[in-house]
Amino acid sequence: MKIKLTTMALTALMAAGPAMADLVFPSLSYRTGPFAAGGIPFADGYADYFTLLNERDGGIGGVPAKLIECETAYNTEKGVECYESTKDEGALIYQPLSTGITYQLIPKATADGIPIHSMGYGRTSAKNGKVFSHVFNYPVNYWDGASVGINHFKKQAGGSLEGKKITLLHFNGAYGKEPIPTLEALSAQEGFSLNTIAIDYPGQEQKSQWLQIRRERPDYVLFWGWGVMNQVAVQEASNIRFPMENFMGIWWSGAELDVLPAGDGANGYKALQFHNVGSDFPIFDDIKQYVTDAGKAAGAGDQIGTVLYNRGVYAAFLAAEAAKAAQAANGTKEITAAMMRDSMEALTIDEAKMAAAGLPGFGPEFQVSCENHGGGGMAAVAQWDATAKTWSLISDFEASDSGIIEPLIMADSKAFADENGIAERCN
């Protein structure tokens, strides 16, 4: 009972108003918990990019970017606490980095007028900007990923998947079940037979699943996993001698740390990516010069160029570009979350912008519009070379089959709109 009184006393203390001087980018990271190994490089990349902007350019348009890091441990409740504790600091954009937290923040942030950018995760049907006014998932979503993956296999099979067997091995949860409707639609269109095999969290033990794959001998396996599931799946695939070039993971199952423990057995494993890999970009020289060597790196500095670090850099780059555009469009340097949202809705990423930021050819070119919050849905395929210990893209950024995906997105977002009584925008 006394605690309530203390709470109130603290309330009075904490109510002091926040300063609005900097551009605030909260980073809901997870450096602890079951998925820490994947969360650390992403958080480092995100932080280092903003540190670079501050050190090299003095911020974005002359205003320093302020990164508020908040540890979620991939836990939805901590995510809520993080959101509430940072939103009054003038947060411009949230990148929740967890599908669960994204789902929770969608109504909250929409009500508070702060945009959410869930890049390659979160609610797929948020692509429909008519329903989801404050949620963006450019440049790509899971359904695009499924489609691009199937297209790649189709090419690999010589142009037709007629009569082939494809297995989806997936995390038994919201995230892993995402691609199933798309794949079912594609299976009807392309004529392959689809089988789904679920793995329960955490996925330390996958013998049953891989024995099943070994018995059924599918031609291709698509894989939606995260955390320890990735390492075990790659290891088991190499154990049963599954041809690795027919085994493809989504972008959350395609980092160095997923394949390294399996050693040479992982050679040839493929993964979808929506940004480039490797450290061969001018920006990384700048990061070395201004951030790492200056002792300002967020992490140990040994992650530069890894897949997840690059993804953090890419996320920060997209956020910074939107902030820049918002400054230009509104003629003010001190932008608000509402300006940020408008600018995200009109965001165009082209080669010139990427090159100017030191990231030539780093991601696909795309455009965001009021109706389409999901960009072009372009993804590329990367392959692991176990000898050189590097990932490299083996295809261009290719578009997904929007004829299949659009109706699914419309159906799902309409269900959400009906359930919540949301009127369509952009008309």
Binding site: M1, I3, K4, L5, T7, M8, T11, A12, M14, A15, S29, R31, T32, A36, I40, E69, C70, E71, A73, T76, E77, V80, E81, Y83, E84, S85, K87, D88, T99, G100, Y103, Q104, I106, P107, K108, T110, A111, R123, T124, S125, N172, G173, A174, Y175, K177, E178, P181, D200, Y201, L408, D412, A415, F416, E419, N420, G421
Partner: protein
């Protein structure tokens, strides 16, 4: 000085048996109620509601539920997370199936449904005891989470398997959905907590509670003196399930707004609520409050100190947080195995005599 029974005359048995026999305690209780209902709603903001108060209120309900089962009836359960999920999904299905019925009744009904499920999983307790039962309740935890993941009827066939709470109002004020005010959600949960606590208190000090405690202390002896173990144990499971279901429904509908079985109602939740009642005090309603407050406040307080004041990197703070929480649990168990409630009782006893301890 103030805290004593001198001059507080009781003229009837009813008076003598009241929850707060000491005048000072009674006044304190009224003050707390007034502050909770009359003052906090005017001071509250989003951060304090969502970071402390809502989780505190909701976990208190869950802790009261588990305390009835574990603290009063002696049946250790690790299925709390799964039962909260039942409450959450029941509430979701009811909210979407009957949008015109007030959310208040949905939450109550969700509690009722959970009570039924909980009773069903309580059946083995007639045969299985002690740690064997604790581990057996894990079967409920894993099975229920798997079920809610697998059967898409539970999440209305949405593509992602997430459930979202649509907007629902009480007296025209939204309490779920996007456009809620902090005070409304707070009061909504507070009403449930107050009712739950009063019901639980009166159940546990009446005949039912005495039966439960007899079963807890030794079930064979209780059976011999005429307590029906089947009824006593199952009623404890049912009552406990009812409260846990309510807390699960509130947790999903009011606090999180969106949930997924494995994410939000995993085994960690079961352990967390069990921690709460052990740190707070087994077999004590106040202990349920104290434990919930302790475990909700501590991590956030540590984060505030570590990250915001000392400016340490978030990961180090998070790790140190784990270490401190772990160490505190151990220290607590060593220093006071009966929890905060026992400390509180000792403090009250000291206060009664103060300043003349002899």
């Amino acid at each position: 000085m103030f805290y004593r029974e001198a001059g507080d005359f009781k003229t009837s048995y009813t008076d003598d048996n009241q929850t707060f026999p000491i005048k000072f305690d009674r006044y304190r209780y009224y003050v707390v109620l007034t502050v909770a209902f009359g003052i906090i709603p005017f001071l509250i903001n989003d951060y304090w509601a969502n970071a402390f108060l809502l989780p505190f209120l909701i976990y208190s309900i869950a802790a009261i539920g588990l305390n009835i089962l574990t603290g009063y009836c002696g049946q250790v359960s690790l299925g709390t997370g799964g039962f909260m999920a039942v409450g959450a999904y029941a509430c979701y299905k009811l909210m979407t199936a009957f949008p015109d019925v007030n959310i208040f009744f949905h939450v109550i009904a969700a509690g009722g449904i959970t009570a039924i499920v909980c009773t069903a999983f309580g059946l083995p307790s007639l045969r299985i005891k002690g740690f064997y039962l604790a581990v057996a309740t894990l079967a409920a935890q894993f099975f229920l989470v798997w079920l809610f993941n697998k059967v898409s009827w539970f999440y209305n066939y949405s593509a992602s398997g997430q459930i979202n709470a649509p907007e629902r109002t009480v007296f025209g004020v939204p309490v779920t959905g996007a456009n809620t005010e902090a005070w409304a959600t707070y009061l909504f949960c507070l009403v449930f907590l107050a009712i739950s606590a009063i019901i639980a208190r009166n159940l546990t000090r009446g005949m039912q509670g005495r039966k439960w405690m007899a079963i807890r202390d030794m079930d064979i002896a209780a059976e011999i003196i005429g307590v029906n173990p089947l009824r006593a144990k199952l009623s404890a499971f049912a009552v406990s399930g009812f409260f846990i279901g309510i807390s699960g429904a509130l947790f999903f509908a009011v606090y999180l707004g969106a949930a997924e079985a494995g994410d939000s109602f995993g085994i960690q939740k079961s352990f967390l609520v069990l921690f709460m009642i052990i740190i707070g005090g087994l077999g004590s309603i106040f202990g349920s409050f104290a434990g919930a407050a302790f475990l909700v406040l501590l991590p956030v307080a540590l984060k505030l100190v570590g990250v915001d004041f000392l400016g340490w990197p978030t990961d180090i703070v998070a790790h140190i947080q784990l270490i401190i929480v772990g160490a505190l649990i151990i220290i607590f168990l060593i220093a006071e195995p009966h929890g905060i409630a026992q400390l509180w009782r000792v403090a009250k006893e000291k206060l009664r005599l103060w300043p003349f301890p002899h």
